[in-house]
């Protein structure tokens, strides 16, 4: 068991299940990955209690299923990470896009979309007897397709839009390194920037992970910034889970435990 609690207390308000049809955007850099964050999102979605903003907890009333599609890590990686936290893998449908490489072959994006929709349908099927389940879709490293297939940004954004229609809420991870987002010049840089910014315009929360500005430190892995995305005011969901903008530091331990703390703490 890791020495830290599975969900860092400071993060718990952000990890609770997002409202219907919302998108959460997680961005990473080469030196700071979002894998630990994704694992905690999944763990928190499948846990029986929801953390409220004021620190109180309440019981899940609906069943939740997770469909995890990853282009950058294989199934074993996620299983191992999840097991350390104690995640219930019966409720996770892992689509290992790294090993199968779908979306990269002749089928292209259409193939990727069929696979994702199939996985969503399977997840629904699995819980049919318990009534309708909420499906949380996690798309990890979708931007890899952009780089690997050279497809148009719009096609990928349409893909995200299409699969979002079938699930309760979506979490999307993408890289946001300096050349991929700041003053892009090459076609790939431009399309990547357009993709990340396009998603940021739809997202309710944007959680960005980056390395420490002052360089590598032993006791800090990186900086986590949480911002209201442009999709925050989409509906009259004000009051229910207003996102608080924050910047925290975090440390991922050797055992996979994560500590999140304020600057100077």
């Amino acid at each position: 068991m890791p020495s830290q609690p599975p969900i860092p207390p400071l993060l718990s308000p952000y990890l609770s299940i997002a409202p219907f049809a919302s998108l959460t955007l997680l961005t990473s850099t080469l030196g700071a990955s979002t894998n630990w964050l994704v694992l905690r999102f999944i763990y928190s979605a499948l846990k029986d209690t929801i953390y409220e903003k004021d620190g109180s907890t309440k019981e899940h009333t609906e069943d939740t299923m997770v469909v995890l599609v990853s282009w950058l890590r294989d199934g074993n990686f996620w299983k191992e990470g999840g097991r350390k936290l104690g995640t219930n893998f019966q409720k996770i449908q892992i689509v290992d896009a790294l090993s199968t490489g779908f979306g990269l072959g002749a089928g292209g994006l259409a193939e990727a979309e069929t696979e994702i929709l199939k996985a969503i349908a399977t997840a629904r099927e699995a819980t049919k007897e318990n009534g309708e389940a909420r499906v949380l879709l996690v798309l990890d490293g979708l931007d890899f397709l952009l780089a690997a297939t050279g497809c148009v940004t719009l096609e990928i954004m349409d893909l995200v839009g299409a699969v979002r229609d079938h699930v309760h809420s979506t979490i999307l991870t993408s890289s946001a390194d300096l050349p991929l987002t700041q003053s892009p010049t090459t076609p790939l840089e431009i399309s990547h920037t357009a993709f990340v910014m396009g998603m940021a315009h739809q997202a309710r929360i944007i959680m960005s992970v980056r390395g420490l500005d002052t360089g590598v430190a032993r006791d800090v892995s990186g900086v986590l910034r949480m911002c209201r995305g442009a999709g925050a005011g989409d509906e009259a969901d004000e009051g229910e889970g207003e996102v608080e903008e924050r910047e925290y530091l975090y440390l991922v331990g050797a055992d996979g435990g994560v500590r999140v703390f304020e600057r100077g703490a």
Binding site: S208, A230, E238
Partner: protein
């Protein structure tokens, strides 16, 4: 004088923005909203939908990125993966000729990317005398470089800005205020989001401020004269009204005044004396008869200390 000019601006420009937001008459057939992730145009759109509902207009919402229909609209058109020509036909069929319609396009990016589409003529074709077009363009989303036949054509944003009768630009209130505070002190203004030029940062803190947004307006009159103004737009759920940004209490308050009043407070707190006097003390002081008081009266003109008799 400055006060009167401000008062004049306040009256005129507030009337104008209320007319624009209320979609009264044919005030603005094509309104272009330029937004960024720091401040989305969604709250402004909600204001528009709300006002259109009040004036019983049809609202047609063409969605590229909004997954579920916002409340208060008449028709929701899912435009994802649809050809522009098809959209044109569908929009034309939705827009009735005898009822005024507000047509909202939530993202012009797909149209702007479409190299085969002539954006100006497409937009002109969907705007009829009874429709007002309200379109959002994300200013921070880069477009792919133009391909050979269009290499020298102006970028879509330029033609959009040329076509638009009103251009709104949105800013986050919190970020706008912190820039102003820095400018007041002649400091370097803070930058947010992509401007920060930091690895991994795509959005700045203080984005999409729930307290309201700063709205920059550039309205072109029929005569060609343009009117520029900056407003504060409160969130749609609040009862507040749109005001000039200069009238916003947080904008007006400058740090200089703050410092002055703070210094005064400190001065009074630190001194052991009470330098002020009460009304009773003042009255008493006035009642005191000073020696040689008579000498100050007219007519006597006596010398100092001299006995008048």
């Amino acid at each position: 004088m400055a006060d009167r000019a401000l008062q004049h601006r306040r009256v005129h420009n507030l009337l104008l923005i209320q007319k624009l937001l209320g979609l009264r008459g044919d005030s603005s057939p094509f309104t272009l909203v330029l937004d960024a992730v720091e401040q989305s145009a969604k709250p402004l759109i909600r204001h528009y939908i709300h006002n259109a509902q009040i004036s019983k207009m049809d609202v047609v919402y063409v969605s590229f990125e909004t997954p579920k229909a916002p409340s208060g609209i008449t028709t929701f058109v899912n435009a994802r993966r649809r050809a522009a020509a098809e959209m044109q036909g569908e929009i034309a069929s939705m827009v009735s000729t005898n009822k005024r319609t507000l047509l909202i396009v939530d993202n012009l990016y797909p149209f702007a990317c479409n190299t085969t589409l002539d954006l100006p003529s497409f937009l002109s074709s969907v705007v009829t005398p009874t429709t007002s077009l309200l379109a959002i363009y994300h200013a921070d989303t880069p477009l792919p470089p133009p391909l050979p036949p269009n290499s020298y054509a102006p970028p879509p944003l330029t033609s959009l800005e040329f076509l638009a009768t009103t251009i709104f630009t949105t800013h986050s209130l919190e970020q706008f205020l912190s820039c102003k505070r820095a400018a007041d002190k002649s400091l370097t203004q803070p930058v947010f989001g992509l401007e920060e030029k930091r690895e991994g940062v795509i959005i700045g803190l203080g984005s999409n401020d729930p307290k309201g947004l700063v709205l920059e307006m550039d309205h072109r009159r029929k005569s060609g004269r343009n009117i520029e103004e900056t407003f504060f737009l409160p969130p749609p759920s609040s009862k507040e009204k749109i005001i000039l940004l200069e009238d916003h209490p947080l904008y007006r308050r400058s740090d200089l005044e703050d410092a002055k009043s703070a210094a005064n407070e400190i001065a009074t707190e630190l001194s052991t004396f009470d330098l002020g006097i009460t009304a009773k003390q003042r009255r008493d002081r006035e009642g005191v008869v000073l020696p040689y008081f008579d000498a100050q009266k007219d007519g006597w003109g006596g010398g100092e200390g001299e006995d008048p008799l």
